[in-house]
């Protein structure tokens, strides 16, 4: 339906309603289309007046729709009136109305009222992230940075995840302010990015850069750059953080891989206790390895070639540097078949250690175990992203550790070199926001969209204090 352009009289509304197919939902549909067309508020008012006169009451959902229209057009006094009416009429409101009210009021000169509303919401539920976002933004817009950060911390404490938009507004709104306390808080935001491995997008990065450069007397200078594979920043010649895990992180991760990924709820789901024990003794007797290869995965690299040939190429290529290799496979590879020639398998077994798991076991879990057990220098070869194994880990902290370890230790094949087996080097430096005190290095995404969890951005912002 097309909403009318001018306020209508009751009779006119009645007529419209009667012409409508389902008169019961006429008001809702009409208000929806008003919201869509951003109709003048007076038209909606006239509809409400008509409704009130006919029924003596206006239903909650209709009021909320009207509120949406008011918020959309920033009609502050209307929002307040609706709130007054709702407050007396209903004991509590639901989150949709609260979201609208807080959003509407926080954008006006009555923004303090949004805070009282937020307090009200807290009494009955955990406020939504949009509620918090509106309030925090309102506070920082009015230079009440202290209040803004208090709220921000409160929302983190309640496990409400802030949007990038919110974080960005901190940097935008505290540009040019000289305040040591504030500076500390903003560094805290950057560290939040670090801890949660969040990468800002391009415009966010720009806000950060501008803020740094605007600090009076800070002498910060930011430049965009690409980090070399060696991990050295070309601008400030600083070496980025190592991708290696600390001892504690490393042992923590190994333990969790064994308990969560290999055993999980039932050891029999991925292997069997006997097999796992056999594998453990096998590994312990031959430690340490330099490279662990997922045999089956590597054997599918080129579909034209025989599977054992692919594996043979890989083993030959990697065996050159006197590296100790472990190839993981399944028992069916030992059966002489069109894809697996016995002679080639024999030849390979001279160059590398092989472990063959049962055909129904999952060899990836063995891959993880053997690599972790061999130590920090050991790397592994597979094209698999190991997402399902990451998902088995129960908390996000360990998942982040897993990703970090994986970035530093996984070798995968580059597509462009299809003739030779060539390896993409594992990252030597860690891809997170990092600081040394007088420098900050911040990786950022070129595009706005989410990237895949295994990808890391290659572009960096280098901020240096002169």
């Amino acid at each position: 339906v097309q909403p009318p352009e001018k306020p209508l009289q009751a009779e006119e509304w009645n007529k419209l309603r009667e012409d409508f197919q389902i008169p019961e939902i006429f008001e809702e549909v009409m208000l929806n289309s008003m919201i869509r067309c951003n109709s003048p508020i007076d038209v909606a008012k006239s509809l409400l007046t008509h409704l009130a006169k006919r029924n003596g009451d206006i239903a909650y959902n209709v009021l909320v729709k009207y509120l949406t229209l008011c918020v959309q057009q920033g009609q502050v006094s209307e929002i307040r009136d609706v709130y007054d009416i709702m407050k007396v009429r209903f004991k509590v409101l639901e989150s949709g109305a609260y979201n609208l009210l807080i959003k509407g009021l926080s954008n006006s000169d009555q923004w303090k009222m949004a805070f009282t509303l937020l307090e009200e919401v807290k009494k009955i539920m955990i406020p939504s992230r949009t509620c918090y976002e509106s309030c925090v933004k309102a506070a920082s817009r009015h230079q009440e940075m202290k209040l803004a950060f208090e709220l921000y911390k409160e929302m983190l404490a309640k496990d409400v995840v802030p949007t990038l938009d919110l974080l960005q507004s901190f940097f935008n709104l505290s540009r040019g302010m000289k305040d040591a306390e504030l500076q500390k808080e903003l560094f805290g935001v950057l560290l939040y990015l670090r801890e949660n491995q969040i990468y800002p997008h391009k415009t966010f990065m720009r806000s950060i850069k501008l803020w740094f450069e605007s600090i009076p007397g800070g002498n910060w200078r930011g430049r965009l750059t690409n980090i070399k594979d060696s991990g050295q920043c070309p601008v400030c010649k600083h070496q980025l953080e190592d991708s290696n895990l600390t001892e504690e992180e490393y042992s923590n991760l190994s333990e969790r891989i064994i308990t969560d990924v290999i055993h999980g709820t039932d050891t029999f789901r991925k292997t069997s206790p006997e097999e796992f024990e056999a594998f453990q003794t096998f590994v312990e007797n031959r430690l340490p390895f330099d490279i662990v290869i997922d045999g089956l995965n590597v054997s599918h690299i080129k579909s034209r070639k025989m599977q054992c040939e692919n594996l043979f190429d890989a083993v030959n290529c990697l065996a050159k540097e006197n590296a100790r290799l472990l190839v993981l496979g399944r028992k069916h590879m030992l059966m002489n078949s069109s894809n697996w020639k016995r002679e080639i398998m024999k030849e390979m077994q001279d160059k590398a250690d092989f472990f063959f798991a049962e055909n129904i076991s999952e060899d990836d879990t063995f891959l993880l175990y053997a690599t972790l057990r061999s130590g920090k220098h050991c790397r592994f070869v597979t094209r698999d992203f190991l997402r399902d194994h990451k998902a088995c880990l129960s908390d996000s902290l360990t998942r982040h550790l897993f990703r970090k370890w994986q970035r530093g230790h996984q070798i995968s094949k580059k597509k462009s070199f299809s003739s030779v087996f060539s390896q993409q080097p594992a990252f030597r430096y860690d891809c997170v926001v990092q600081t040394t005190g007088d420098t900050w290095h911040i990786p950022y995404k070129d595009v706005f969209e989410e990237k895949y969890s295994y990808q890391v951005p290659r572009k960096w912002l280098c901020v240096q204090q002169k």
Partner: protein
């Protein structure tokens, strides 16, 4: 109580107020001076300028005025809400906001609602209740319609002629029941065992257990009705378990009279190991034929979030043989998981037992999951399909080249 109060208020408001507003009778109904003056000027407004001027904020006055009497009520009520009352309040608000919620909610359901861990879980639960309520209503409506039609038909029949004479007394359902029970009893002595493994309670949520039991009940009934029923065993069945509770809910007093074997023993304790075959979709082995000497085991589990390898792990632990249905071999699979419901499994196994015809048996796989039935193995078919497409593409390329040559 609160709810009833609200309802009453609503009724009072909606029935009386329009009348009151139109006739300026507020004074008598609600002795409040402010409302009186408002409604009076409302009337005056209308009388002097019939259609030109509109008081746009009038709705606020109406809303506020109708509130006056409520304010005095609500003030006396305690402000702080706790537990169930708060849940009830949110539920009412969601209902008012037009979300998908049921019209009525029981105390028990409200508790479950309260205990949902997240907002989305709460929403989902209410939505589920809402749909359930809708289904119930629809069923009831249909039943009523049917009843009416039957009464009408009866009326007509009694009008036209007397009852027909027939050599049999009309006792269909109970005689059939007797016949079925006789067969089931025979199967308990001579029939081929079929095991339901009831050890998955820990892997399932409450709703999944409910669904499982519902599916088993359907399986049991179709087994009972078949020509040559299985001898059903419920193994690893614990008394007082969730399964047990749900079965009693479904069967009521008939639970004790079912012609099946229920035991807390494991199937490995009852049957020789080499005769057991665990049916699971994760099995690497594919079933070729139905073996009348083997004992098939079906895991009584519904996994809404598909948990791969749970039942395979169970079979591996006990060192049992496993098998999967040859779905890939006979069906051009299109979408959906390969795990079937328990009653579908039962239909398939019964048909296999009677006919050994895979085509007939696999007809019980839901149609949405596959595109068609194939006589040849799918692998071969794929090869020919590939050939056809390459031939087609090849031809097209030639055509394109020809056209290109013509133009230049």
């Amino acid at each position: 109580m609160q709810c009833a109060n609200m309802l009453l208020r609503k009724i009072a408001r909606s029935s009386v107020l329009p009348f009151a507003a139109q006739h300026g009778m507020k004074k008598d109904l609600f002795p409040l001076s402010r409302t009186l003056s408002l409604s009076l000027c409302l009337k005056q407004d209308k009388s002097c300028e019939p259609s030109e001027k509109l008081d746009l904020d009038e709705w606020k006055k109406v809303m506020k005025s109708s509130l006056q009497e409520e304010v005095s009520e609500t003030v006396s009520e305690p402000k702080e809400l706790s537990g169930l009352a708060a849940a009830r309040e949110t539920f009412e608000m969601w209902k008012l906001a037009g979300k998908a919620v049921p019209e009525n909610i029981s105390e028990e359901q409200l508790k479950t609602f309260m205990e949902c861990p997240s907002k989305s879980a709460k929403k989902k639960y209410l939505r589920y209740l809402h749909l359930k309520e809708l289904h119930k209503k629809n069923d009831k409506r249909k039943m009523d319609e049917k009843k009416e039609r039957r009464l009408e038909a009866q009326d007509q029949a009694s009008n036209t002629d007397e009852t027909k004479k027939s050599p049999f007394v009309c006792l269909w359902s109970s005689t059939m029941d007797k016949a079925y029970n006789w067969r089931a009893a025979q199967s308990m002595i001579f029939g081929q065992p079929l095991v339901f493994d009831m050890s998955y309670e820990k892997e399932m949520s409450l709703r999944e257990v409910t669904n499982t039991v519902r599916q088993i009940v359907m399986s049991e009934s179709c087994n009972r009705r078949s020509v040559d029923p299985f001898h059903i065993h419920f193994c690893n069945f614990k008394d007082g378990s969730l399964y047990h509770r749900e079965f009693i809910k479904n069967y009521k007093e008939a639970w004790g009279k079912l012609l099946i074997t229920v035991t807390d023993q494991c199937y490995t304790e009852i049957f020789p190991k080499d005769k057991l075959i665990y049916l699971t979709a994760d099995s690497p082995k594919v079933m070729k034929t139905f073996d009348h000497d083997k004992i098939y085991i079906v895991g009584s589990m519904v996994d809404k979030s598909i948990k791969t390898g749970v039942s395979l792990a169970r079979a591996k632990r006990l060192g049992l043989e496993t098998a999967a249905l040859p779905l890939e071999k006979y069906l051009l699979w299109s979408s959906g998981a390969k795990n079937l419901t328990l009653d579908q499994m039962m239909h398939i196994l019964l048909t296999l037992k009677d006919t050994a015809d895979w085509k007939k048996a696999l007809e019980f796989v839901p149609k949405r999951k596959y595109c068609g039935f194939v006589n040849k193995p799918v692998k071969e078919l794929k090869k020919t399909l590939d050939l056809i497409t390459t031939l087609k593409l090849g031809k097209r390329r030639e055509e394109v080249e020809k056209q290109f040559a013509k133009k230049h």
